[in-house]
Symmetry: C2
Subunit: 435 residues, 2 copies
């Protein structure tokens, strides 16, 4: 077996290695939200730090009830019995793909781990391009073609995954696209997995958000977690909502069985704090609102820098990612595929990003995923200031990061080529020395 | 797909259900250590409750270094680079079995999850009986036969698992048995997975403990965790030590790749506290010593009750399990297989245990696994008293539990048969009301 570490986590490890070696690096690779733990949750985790029983495989009742309430407030009738908590929604998605157990349709591009998880299970994957500007959902017409071809080939699809809003593109599929996917799923008896971990980070809080679970409740598994909206990635806490049907119960039971043999249950003290988070007290709602505003502002500022450097992109409508088309810049650098472009940017321009091909995209499309979550500050003080600032772009360390990005993209020497030699140690202009 | 929840976790859920329904139940089923979190660790988890970055896939450096030190103190030269931390050693074992990727030899009986994990991976399992009184290691002669047969059948073994000391039997394989297994592994190029999660709970701290990693360092993966020695099951923290060889590095890289697509990393605040635990400060060494003494004392007392009731057993030498042969009792009850016997004991005698067949054993051998970890008290106050008592057997709630067990085994009506009707609510003599 030859496998490699998830690209998003690998770039995080690489940036950490560069920092500890005293090398500067603009950390635009990893999808970490980069914001402090809210004091309410710090206190709650402390409060439960003396608890260490295993608890139920599907998660403690308080957490499952709180998650049910979370969905209830978003118009999805949910009982605690429909919910499984896991150590991250990643783990739950992995188990759900296994429990569904057949060929999987994914949007192209899509989050790195869906395809890797399906590969771990030995399940066939079909990458279906998204409609223009609507990341996170396969184009329904193309999906219909793929469904028919897979049926004809004797390996029918069982599952289609949506990401709403999307990672890597930061865009949100339109209601009629989602409805068309749901209709196809109903017609061909597919399970729809709706990864809604960025849902609360749709920049316009009044935007029309439709979950497939509203349209085809009998066949949609929704997953979410606290890693993005409350920046709790390292707490590893996610929840999945299963259909309230016999088939949904059976799928949920299979996921619980898998969980029981792999991770047993999420860490108990973390579950307790997560239970509070999912009840959404006012202070946390306010924090999510501030985070959403900060992400939207910085994403817009980064978009401006990218566009100035010749990139083309659809303005993101949620989360903290951008997905520019960098063909013009790549042309100037004389590189023809996105992995080479990302390497040039990392080794010559000290800027970490991820190539679109990591997300299943065409290397020649020269897309990069740019994550803004680690630009907000080097410590909790700076990050809190960023959350509270009238205009965070004017905070000196953020302004410096944006300036660095501008330099990296426009000031980089046009003859730059990726090389094997280590970049020269240089600390003077490191964004991580800014303060 | 039709799967069921791990039997050990399922019995835990069932006992919890019975308690919340006001039904009494002697909780001898689940392998939870049932002791309080040490205040040093509660404080450490609190201290890190504001940390929520993902951190490295293989675990934070402090934890990997601490785990290396832990093994170093036990005579196994280890560097942090050889270590991966995961959300429980269960998750790591699952990933290691997958990374080894071939047929697996397991002792018979052995912990419920090894075979279930191999089945999840689609890997063939060979159950190899243990030498009499030496649970946790396959009989070397029988193992040799299995290796040859598997080779001849074109599905050669890649992996053999040992549990030292053992769950379910509580016994410890002898040095020459372990050496013979290592020799076979070397001859046939197998990876030995040595699950040593009960290592620090060998009752006689001066007993001869040999890890296969001392005998065949080039091919042994050792796993351990804090769930048993420090009763931190619900914290989900385990570590694996890989051989310091190119093959070991490659196996470790594969496990990291799997981890990155399934759980990302263990929960960060938990990792911080676990890092302290693995440095083994004096207060925690003392706690482990007290726990070991308590387990040994109660296991011995339960053994006496079992023997009085006609059971035959090898006295356990580690952990908090007993594995009696209950043929005589079963005969009195008129039942012929262990699942029926466990059902009679649960539904008629209010005693939860697990049948040996759950661990791969012959149902007609009429073995039960009895876990003592949940007898020590209903709250942290009682459990702390149990840890500190001169003779814990004389504490009223423990004496009451032992009396209950005696009644269950000897006072139960000989005509008792398992039935579908719910047992009558009865709270008066519930061990969980004792105080």
């Amino acid at each position: 077996m030859s496998m490699s570490v998830s690209a998003t986590l690998a770039i995080n490890d690489e940036v950490a290695r560069r920092h500890s070696a005293g090398l500067s690096c603009l950390p635009l690779g990893f999808g970490e939200a980069g914001l402090p733990v809210h004091p309410l949750l710090t206190a709650e985790l402390s409060r439960w730090s003396g608890v260490a029983s295993y608890g139920p495989v599907t998660g403690i009742a308080a957490l499952r009830e709180a998650a049910a309430g979370y969905w209830q407030r978003r118009g999805l009738h949910t009982t605690a019995d429909q919910v499984i908590a896991g150590p991250g929604s990643k783990a739950l998605l992995w188990a759900v793909l296994r429990a569904c157990g057949g060929a999987v349709a994914l949007p192209r591009p899509s989050w790195v781990s869906y395809a890797a998880q399906a590969a771990l299970h030995g399940l066939p994957v079909h990458l279906v391009p998204t409609p223009p500007g609507q990341g996170g959902a396969p184009d329904p017409e193309r999906l219909a073609t793929v469904i028919k071809a897979a049926e004809a080939a004797g390996q029918p699809l069982t599952t289609v995954v949506l990401t709403l809003p999307d990672n890597p593109t930061g865009t949100l599929a339109a209601r009629n696209t989602i409805a068309a996917v749901c209709e196809l799923a109903r017609k061909h008896n597919l399970t729809v997995v709706s990864d809604e971990i960025y849902r609360d980070l749709v920049h316009d809080a009044h935007a029309d958000f439709v979950s497939p679970a509203e349209l085809a409740p009998e066949r949609v598994v929704v997953t979410t977690g606290l890693s993005k909206s409350l920046a709790l990635g390292g707490w590893r806490t996610g929840v999945a909502r299963f259909p309230a049907t016999p088939a949904g119960d059976s799928l949920r039971a299979d996921v619980a069985a898998i969980a029981s043999e792999v991770w047993s249950a999420p860490a108990q003290p973390i579950q307790r704090a997560a239970a509070l988070a999912f009840t959404e007290p006012a202070a946390l709602r306010e924090r999510v609102r501030d985070s959403r505003r900060l992400h939207a502002r910085i994403v817009a500022a980064v978009a401006d820098v990218l566009i100035e450097a010749g990139a083309r992109l659809t303005y993101p409508s949620g989360g903290f990612y951008l997905y520019p088309d960098m063909r013009e810049l790549a042309g100037r650098f004389g590189v023809a595929d996105d992995t080479e472009l990302a390497a040039v940017l990392l080794y010559r321009c000290d800027m970490a990003s991820l190539p679109g091909s990591t997300f299943g995209d065409d290397p020649a499309a020269l897309r990069l995923r740019i994550a803004t979550g680690l630009l907000y500050g080097d410590d909790d003080e700076q990050r809190t200031a960023a959350l509270q600032a009238e205009d965070p772009v004017r905070l000196p360390w953020i302004a410096d990061h944006l300036h660095q990005l501008n330099l990296a993209l426009t000031g980089a020497r046009a003859d730059a080529r990726p090389g094997r030699r280590e970049p020269r140690p240089r600390r003077t202009s490191s964004p991580h020395d800014a303060s």
